[in-house]
Symmetry: C2
Subunit: 244 residues, 2 copies
Amino acid sequence: MTTIKDRRTIRKFKKEDVSDHLLNNLIETAARAATMGNMQLYSVIITKDEKVKEELAPLHFNQPMIKAPVVLTFCADFNRFTKWCEYRDAAPGYDNFLSFINAMSDTLLFTQNFCTLAEEEGLGTCYLGTTVYNPEEIIRVLNMPKLTFPIATICVGWPDESPNQTDRLPLEGIIHQNTYKDYDEQSLNEIYAHKESLKENKEFVEINKKATLAQVFTDCRYTKKDNEAMSEGMVKALKSQGFL
Amino acid sequence: MTTIKDRRTIRKFKKEDVSDHLLNNLIETAARAATMGNMQLYSVIITKDEKVKEELAPLHFNQPMIKAPVVLTFCADFNRFTKWCEYRDAAPGYDNFLSFINAMSDTLLFTQNFCTLAEEEGLGTCYLGTTVYNPEEIIRVLNMPKLTFPIATICVGWPDESPNQTDRLPLEGIIHQNTYKDYDEQSLNEIYAHKESLKENKEFVEINKKATLAQVFTDCRYTKKDNEAMSEGMVKALKSQGFL
C-alpha cells in the first residue's frame, strides 16, 4: 500500500541503466493483470536505442523525460491474436471499435501494474499522455502493424529527484453512492477549494495572466481547438489501423 | 510484488460486507495513480444496494459475480471538470473523442490501482468486461450525465474460493525490442504452444465441438457479429454522452 500511497511521478533520471533482467521480470509479473478472456490484448515496445528515442522525442513534444534510460510504449494489440486465429482456421472479427476499446482496457491495466511493480523496486516512472496526441507518427516510427495502437508511454529509470507529492481531490469529489449524483455549484466549490487554495496553483494563474485556475486549463493547457484537432487525428489513426 | 504475482480473479464471495472505511481508504489511495494534468478524469459509483444491483445484473448478462457485496462502476468523467470550468468563467472544450480517450485512460489506471490495493488487503476482485457491451443501459440505471461513461465494473468481496491461476503467454510473446517485430507462423506456434497444450483448453475445444482453440474464441466467445453490433452501441452511447 505504501508504494502507491507515496508515489510521485519522476521526471529526472540517473544515467544508470535498468537491467533487462529486472525489466523483463517486471513486465512478466505485470501481465498477471486481469485481461479480457485471457487474450492479453497488448504488446510493449521496449526502447533503449538512442536513435529510436530521438525519433520519438518530437512526437512527445520533446519532453525531457523521453531521454530516460528506458522508454516503454504500451500498445493495444489485436494483431497477434488475429494472426493466431488466421493460422488456426478461425475467422477473427476484431477489426472494429469495440475490439479497440477491449484492447485499450487490457493495455492500461497491464501498464498500471507495471508502474506499481517498477516503483516498488525503487524505479521512477513518468506517464506520457502525449502518446495519443500523435498516434500516426508513433505508429510509423515504431513500425506498428494494423490492429495495434499506441496507448501509453512510460519513461523508466532510477530517480534523480524527489519531488513533492501533488494534490488530489477529496474522496467525496470522486465517489457516488449507488447511482451518480451530479455536481452543483456548492459541491464543486467544496471539491475544488483545496486545489484552488494551493500556492503553486495561485502562481500558475498569475504567471498565465488568467482570472481562475480553470482558465489555465481551458485557455493554455488543454484547449478546445487542440482537443478537436487531436480527436480528428485519433479517429484517422483508428481507421488506418483497422479499428474503425 | 507477491500480491500481483499470485493474483487470481475471484468469482465467489462470502456474504460478509466490505466496510465503508476500508473501501474509502482503498479508493482514496488508488487515486494516487498518474492522471492527465492532475485532472482526475474519473468517478466511481459504489453500489451496495440490492435493488440497483438487480437492475445492473441483466446488463452484465446475469453473471453471478454481480451479487458480490460491492459493485464498483468506474466511470470516465469529464462532467465534473467541465462544470467546474463553467462556474469559473472558463470555456471547456472536452466534448470530443480525445477527451474521452484521456478520461478512459485515467479511469483504468485508477481502477487497476484499486484492484491491487484491494487484493493486498485480502479482498477478491472480478473485472466485468461487459461494462462496455451495454453502456447506454448502464448509463440509464446509474443516472449518469453527459461527459461521463462507464468503463469498468469491479465486483469486490471477501473470497469464498481459491481458484488456480490461469496461464499467460510467455514474455517473448508480448515484448518487442526498440520497434515492433511482427509475428509469423513459427513465432505464433511458439507463443501459443503452452496455451494450446493445456488440458482445460483441449476440453474447451472438445465441448464446443471445434477444431482449434482459436475457433472457440471466434465462433463462440467473441464473434464478429457480436463485436460489430456492440461497436455500434458504443459509438451511439459516445454520441449521446457528448464525446463524439
